[in-house]
């Protein structure tokens, strides 16, 4: 069991309005087995005892599923580019080397206003879902579950898209701060399933419009999002959203129902 000594370059900003800056901290005697957030806990414990304010960051489940943790490490959301498909909470210190300097910044995008230190407001993602990321089925109105067989592959593909944890790493990693991967994953999840067909066009148009209105950038097919996504959501979903959008426009505008 080895311990690490690290230099942290952390973004500190007290309030949404104040001007933030990078501060340097030493993280000493960090166990290799600790997770990245446990490393921050250790640093924070030291800061508090020393009478300073701890580094604020978002975290909750610490098992890589809630999507709350949101740190950009060495310029790459969650993983710091050291491992693929992990959330920050599942990144372990054994991936770092003794003496490393680690840059820790929030998930940055204009659509994600900063609240404090490493915490940002990602409610824009909820707003995209509210615009159409659902199947409108009143509680109690559902038919018997096995009345509609669904091809296993279709169901699996829908699941792959639905595995999105809504952390926003796609936006944070995108060179244009686009939310296409997030939006397309939810649209694809629902559009793939037979249950999602009735609202398909409406959903696609509404979600894209909402996404555009919230100040996200535009996708330029760089696929950085896919590489940064802790759940490996595929950019196939983006292609599908593009396709579905064209079809939806044709259907709603021209009356071509394909």
């Amino acid at each position: 069991m080895a311990n690490l000594n690290l230099t942290l370059k952390v973004w500190r900003q007290d309030t949404p309005q104040s001007k933030g800056s990078i501060q340097t901290y030493q993280a000493n005697e960090i166990p290799e087995e600790a997770s990245f957030l446990e490393m921050l806990d250790i640093v924070n414990e030291g800061l508090v005892i020393a009478g300073q304010e701890p580094i604020h960051y978002d975290h909750d489940c610490r098992e890589g599923i809630c999507g709350m943790c949101s740190l950009t490490i060495n310029g790459v959301p969650h993983s710091g580019g050291l491992v693929s498909k992990v959330t920050t909470c599942q990144l372990h210190m054994r991936k770092f080397k003794d003496g490393d300097t680690i840059w820790i910044e929030p998930f940055r995008a204009e659509a994600f206003p900063l609240l404090r230190d490493l915490i940002v407001d990602r409610s824009a993602l909820d707003n995209i879902i509210a615009a159409g990321g659902f199947i409108e089925v009143r509680t109690g109105s559902a038919p018997e579950a096995n009345t509609m067989p669904i091809r296993k592959k279709t169901s699996e593909a829908a699941f792959d898209a639905a595995a999105c944890i809504g952390c926003g790493a796609c936006v944070a990693s995108c060179k244009n701060s686009s939310a296409m991967l997030f939006t397309s994953a939810k649209a694809a999840h629902l559009n793939l399933l037979p249950q999602g067909q009735p609202e398909k066009h409406k959903r696609v148009l509404a979600m894209v419009r909402q996404m555009d209105n919230l100040g996200f950038g535009n996708c330029t097919n760089q696929y950085e999002c896919e590489a940064a996504c802790p759940k490996g959501i595929s950019v196939d979903n983006i292609a599908k959203l593009n396709r579905d959008y064209i079809i939806a426009c044709a259907a709603e505008g021209v009356g071509v129902y394909a």
């Binding site: 909820d126 659902f134 509680t139």
Partner: protein
Amino acid sequence: MKDIQFPISDFMPDACIPEGPVDQKWTKYKREAKLINPSNRRKYTVIVVGSGLAGGAAAATLAELGYKVKCFCYQDSPRRAHSIAAQGGINAAHNYQNDGDSVYRLFYDTVKGGDFRARESNVYRLAEVSCNIINQCVAQGVPFGREYGGMLDNRSFGGSQLKRTFYSRGQTGQQLLLGCYQAMEKEIGKGNIEMFTRTEMLDLVVVDGHAKGIVVRDMVTGEIKSHSGDTVIVATGGYGRVFFLSTNAMGCNVGAAHACWKRGAYFANPCYTQIHPTCIPVKGDYQSKLTLMSESLRNDGRIWVPSTRELAEKVRNGSIKASDIPENERDYYLERKYPSFGNLAPRDISSRAAKEACDDNRGIATSGFGVFLDFKDAINRMGKDWIAGQYGNLFEMYEEITDVDPNDEPMMIYPASHYTMGGLWVDYNLQASIPGLHVLGEANFSDHGANRLGASALMQGLSDGYFVISSTLPTYLTSIKPGTVTTAAPEFKAAEDEVKARLNKMMNVKGTRTPDDIHRELGQLMWDNVGMGRTRESLTAAIERIPAIREEFWNNVKVAGTTVGMNMELEKAWRLGCYVEFCELLCYDALAREESCGAHFRLEYQLDDGEAARNDAEYAYVSAWEYKGVGELPVLHKEPLTFETVNLAVRSYK
């Protein structure tokens, strides 16, 4: 050691269980239930605290019905509630496998799994609506596992001999919660739900004996605000983090339930805390939480420890690997002790068996607190690809955390605090002992008795949220006039002032220990004394130590920052402030229940073969505790449990 005499009250609120045979109670209830005209529903404001499966489902459903809903969660989005972390699945009595399942069997298994300490009527209702839940979720687009023919697939789970568990790979909770979250967002988009994220409930406001609102802290600005409504629904999950290390999320806390308790709601069966058998063992004292590996792994994994202490020691110091140990030197203790259920024995039994093996010095992992979960045979039988299809993400997760690939070496697992069956006491309407306060999901006590079966928590949360509360809420709402109480009522101001005073008091201690540090100490005490095995001595010792920890908190806690703006240390301190008061109740309840049942295992009360010795004659009741002040003994109210349908039997999984 002095004997503690708990004050016992003869009074017990009516559980409002409908008359008639158990399988007709819910039908009868719905037939006779009060209704509210659609145009009148919008006059009622419903406050929902918590946005997990129970809270989220309730918020969405009530908003669809036309009520004005205000929903609160401490996370930055309702999608992040800890229901999301449930892995294995959700039970339902659909009998798609044609293996003899029925509503009655699900009901019976749940009552038996709960060691006959649950209310029959509630459990039957749960089993009854289980199929509706699956129907609803499928319609919402939840991608459940399917067979090639396109039909829904099932897997088996602990405590059942049937395959009745629906699943979405290892992320069932996530998919169910997203379905529920999407339904909520739909209503948020329409303006029917007003959502308050990053908002934590700190107090319940009771006006003229009725729950009429809450006091919250805006976790971004630090403001203390009040919200009034016609009824309050609390769905804030369990109190597993009383042990500090648990599989709960870091933010999970007892705060809301504790506030309700202090305002007069009875807290029922707090000693029923479930320890999950398959978690990754503790690695160091910096550890913040424990990670659960789904119980579904027990379908194909075999649990064992080395058959001798010497071998175990060699594994611990790393001189041999698990794969080096030959078959005849492995003790598959669950298969040995429980031949018919084997590795699928219920959670409490598996957990305790692991503890026994480790107490016998045959544990593995560096700490000695671990057992093997081995997939070698399953891999040989079905192939690596098949295993990857079943458990791929769980294997990846395990490897990510421990740096060991379960394909090569067996997993190491150990029990950890996971779920709490106890909770606020509710009647059949899910109404607490304070009129107007409704409690849903893990936060209430009603359906799991002394032990919860796997894949039943998701079922209960959604049952309460989607199907029960929508039918039972009008019973209360029709008894009041909507909109009569606003935040102008003096009770709100008083509650706000109390909360502010408490926050300031914490802030001004300016001691030397962080909240986490004190919480860790409290957690260790609780784990050691009130964890998997409890004795009169251990409980009394804990009860004697707790006031000192509480003193330590109020005299030596160091909360950085101020009450203004974001302050995660203050959040932790507030939650710990609740735990240092609440933990005593857990001990009291465990001490007062002088029997072993389900997850509550008193070492004094066991059968010759080490099984829990229930005492139905004296303890077949729900212990509902009434708050009487910090450090004061709570008053015990007893709700007798009557079993009209199932026969009380020794719970045997042999």
